[in-house]
Amino acid sequence: MKAYNVINTRLPRVDAKAKATGDARYAADLAMPNMLYGAFLQSPFAHAKILNIDTTAAKKLPGVRDVVTAKEAGLVKYGVSPARYDEQVFCPDKVRYVGDEVAAVAADDLETAMEAVSLIKVDYEELPVLLDIESAMKEGAIAIHDDFPGNIGAEVHQEFGNFEEALKECDIVRTDRFVNKRQDGGFLEPQACLAHYDLNGNLTLWTSTQSVHYVQRSVSMVLGIPIGKVRVIKPYVGGGFGPKAAVNAMEIAACLMSRRTGRPVKMVFSREQVFLHSRARHQFFHELTTGVKKDGTIVALKNTCYLDGGAYSSFGIATIYYAGSLLGAPYKLPNMKYDGYRVYTNKPTCGAQRGHGGVAARAAWEQQLDSIAAELNMDPVEFRLKNIMKTGDVTCNDFNMSSLGMKECLEAVRDGSGWSTKKGKLPAGKGIGVACGFFVSGAGYPIYRSETFHSTATIRLSEDGGAVNLYTAAAEIGQGSDTILGQIAAEALGVSLDDVKVHSGDTDFGVDLGAYSSRQTLMSGHAVKAAAEDTKRQVLEALSEKLNISIADMDIAKGVVVFKNGNPDFSQLRTAYIKEHRGWEDLPSGGELTFREAARIAFLTRGVIIGNGAYKPGELGGKYKGAAVGTSPAYGCSAQVVEVTVDMETGKVTVDDMTDAHDCGFAINRTNVEGQMQGSLSMGLGEALFEEVRFDEKGRVANPSLGEYRIPTALDMPNVRTIIVESDEPNGPFGAKEVGEGAIMPTIPAILNAIHDAVGVRIDELPITSERLYALMKGKRRK
């Protein structure tokens, strides 16, 4: 393998020191002189008509500078997918969930803003509340959105191969049902933003987002401000995991009030508002029928799925497609039928969360595959290996496995966990389970139909040759993209990471669709690599003119120019450089021409050196309806073995051991890859064992706090044996592809399979709390 200097290392993150010292500024840390504070009035009812809004008293309160409702905001609809723009900043005529925004206030301080909010009088007429799929789909149920009588917001029907015919060849056919619970993103930083509309009509919005690009487009569209006058900047962001991927009402409201008052406006969600906003994982109801031959060949799958979408569409259309399409791999599956329905209910809106759409389906199917393996009397690992896809295979729904180290992952966790010595041999109450998963490396298409580049990047060399400035709109939200992109730029240009200054997350720095669907290493990485190569070419061209050496005979590596045919006499260039830097310390000496000198010479001959790069995926497979969701330039995959102990008296599950292997194509930063794997696993563990957003009968979130909505603590998570598998992805920069989301896929089913191994019960409902497991165990004993 090629030797690299900057990538495939364990270099510390470029933002780590700022974060370790408290210097890093997040949106809630920002302030501007003369700033106002905004607060929302949100609906107390899950479903109600708005008859009248009276803001008179609020407007009169001293210190209040603006009060806005739908009347002031206008009625432009927005959302994620243009086909389902169904949100408005403020509800004009009816509210659809507890927390729906009705009005906002900007005041001199937060206390005054909140007091003013309490003075706004709204007359509501309550409507029937639909809190679950059954009541929402019932004949004659009230329509939550007029355009969607029956409350089915989106449905998908796909068939690849012929399921019914294929089933006739099968020896074993199994049908199982599975339901998970609504999850919350649980990121530590609540959303916050600061908007500033200046006297020249330029709007700047600093916000906690995963995509400055989509926020810019939405704000511009809703408020009618030309897109060139809207600048969105992402400061440090404290996690996103999906819910921060689309614009939120707070961002638009703050911009609106800033424009109306001429003053900066800051808004911050409380933790309870984070739960109300949600946009995280849907509740999925899957029914899966799988047909397998005697020899263990998987032949056919039918998947019917209902999603409880909540009040608006958000990412839901993509979610419902993903809930079907992602089961096309990592096993050879020639016949697949899918029927999916996303249903509106009077609850906070669900959207995208890590492993978007695929997590519950994967949990259900990987557990069912274990049941089938048991019927076949086959070892679950052997059964999976028999059906596994490999590099070059194409799924029945046209996903191209341009690289797939699935077999390597499965063998690695089998060997790394001691599977063979443990499976079937552990004492009662202890169990071991395995599962596989896979995921896209970036959605192949923008959310709105467009030929736009998914990512652009610019490198500007500082005029003194001292620094490489990388500009990208990619969003660092904790996953490590600033570091990864800095490393890619440094490697491709031939300098060290220390020489690169990463400027990111700003719409003024280019187009980047942002941090979602695990896209940034591959897509932004490509753009950055191209920009670095363009920069390098320009520097070498300038040198070539001065030294009369062909570009092909030169390169840059480790911060110095490499002359392939021996060093020429570059003393004139050095003299010129030193003259330019008269009186400075740290002048270059020694026998090598440094990158600094070369960059300075290039500036002196050609002006500012700017390198450009841009990336969009090439032709992707799939011509059928919905092919745009799930087709990706590359697919990551993973396998996991988990060991658990179940307390037979209480049903309490302890996860003792996790072995995880992930094929990330090529690890740009090994520490980061492991970190993404470990973080994914902890989120999966939480979702398997305790996470559930609950509602009361009025549609209010019953546990809107991190005390009652439990995410894993350091005591819940074991150490993970993390194994990085590299398959050299031809469509990835330096062979890299995703790790951020796919790593969560096998966690839940591996835990469920381990619990089955320990106590012999199958689980069809998440989370598998002590109570639920205890009841299942008791039921089994009674039988």
């Binding site: 510390p12 996690g239 470990q678 991190l706 005390g707």
Partner: protein, 156 residues
């Protein structure tokens, strides 16, 4: 009615008037501009707002500023010395214990205060000491490893 309080924060004396309902988190962030202390929940669940008060790590969102009258407080801004990081910060940086970083100030303070009292903690003791500090990003493993490595380095 505002009340006059005095306290030491990061070795500096402050005398300020605070309203009785203001939390220590708010006063540190808004009055003293020490923005390294984060607020993730405001009700004592997440540990992002952890600061050290008289030697003990506490959730500053649960402490009223008036209750901190007369106390000695360390926030994340008081941990590094000039441009040299505390060993715990250094191991966090080197070993990948930081992702989004929102939990990091609280984690670092919980970890340093553990090592002050117990320089050689077991893995279990480290996990217990940071169990009130939620982290959604890292899965905790690299944080635990960084604290253990810091303990080894500080011993030397």
């Amino acid at each position: 009615m505002k009340k006059l309080i005095t306290f030491r924060v990061n070795d500096r004396e402050y005398e300020i008037a605070v309203a009785p309902n203001r939390t220590l988190t708010q006063v540190l962030r808004e009055d003293l501009n020490l923005l390294g202390t984060k607020e993730g929940c405001g009700v004592g669940d997440c540990g992002a707002c952890t600061v050290i008060v008289d030697g003990k790590p506490v959730n500053s969102c649960l402490v009223l500023a008036v209750q901190a009258d007369g106390s000695d407080i360390t926030t994340i801004e008081g941990v590094a010395r000039g441009d040299s990081l505390h060993t715990v910060q250094q191991t966090f940086v080197e070993m990948g214990a930081i992702q989004c970083g929102f939990c990091t100030p609280g984690m670092v303070l919980s970890a340093t205060s553990l090592l002050d009292k117990n320089p050689r903690p077991t893995e279990r003791e480290v996990r217990e000491a940071i169990s009130g500090n939620l982290c959604r990003c890292t899965g905790y493993q690299k944080i635990v490893e960084a604290v253990q490595e810091a303990s080894r380095r500080m011993k030397k």
